[in-house]
Amino acid sequence: MVALAVLAIVVVLGVRYFVWVDVGGRCVIGIRPSLVGYDNSTVKRALETLRHGSPGDYRKVCTHVGSINPNPSCGGFGGGCFWHGQNARGRASIDVSTEHGLIWTVAILVHETCHAIQFHEGRPAGFDHEDECYNEDHRIMRALVQFE
């Protein structure tokens, strides 16, 4: 009985912190444990925002990304990374630092997903990979941030 309860708690906490599950949207994305604060919640908030605010971009994330690493990586604090390699052939793993809050987390998510799409489409060597993806994150920020 105790073992069952412990197992239930582990499963609940695992799903709560380390997996994004959207049954209706048929989307499951793993989120690696974070070393910095509550970054997993920021990633989940960013995915939720994208799901409602820009369903097209959300669908692209679900199609091309299998796991998200919220820890600072080669992009440093506030940046992101996409690693080319055999591991990225299926749904890719992307690094998305959450240091600068929700808006930038959404932007980096879209930026790194753009690189995953480029990789999956086999863009040729020498192609300007960054221009297209910076334009993508700029576009999503302009679309979602409302101020006056």
């Binding site: 908030r45 925002t49 409602h52 929700l102 920020m141 941030v145 101020f147």
Partner: protein, 159 residues
Amino acid sequence: MKRWAVIGVVVLLVAWGWLRAFAWFDPLAFCRIHIDVELLEGDRSGIRHAIDVVRREDPIAYRALCRWVDRIQEERQCDAGDPQADRRVRGGAGIPLGVLDPAIRQAREAPGCYVRGSRIIVLRRAPDGAGGPPLVRERAEALKRLAGYSRAFWVEGVR
């Protein structure tokens, strides 16, 4: 019996403190809005004062705030675009933001912004030297307006 009453009171006090500590909590209005601030530089009480002004002055806006906003985040600024989308910025050229895209500069100067698709309002952290009643007033007005944007997104489908 008396011991259980004491335990009950203690539990209630702890729950009350927990619900209030990181949030605006108004049980009579069924309203709880989480407030996120920087650990060292943040000012949760300033944001509470601004919400209190909205509550006292504008019940309709307060209702919208409670219903359509579940989190207020204090951040350095609102960013409505990525300056690095311009190659010249990535190349290290010091180009004024207003030249690139006026919206980026305007968003950074705005007291706050709403992120479409969320129930989250971002408030700009108080600039150095700013504070007191003018800042509370500015934030209260921003909260009224931004809660309206959230309501419009979720109810009227303004996308």
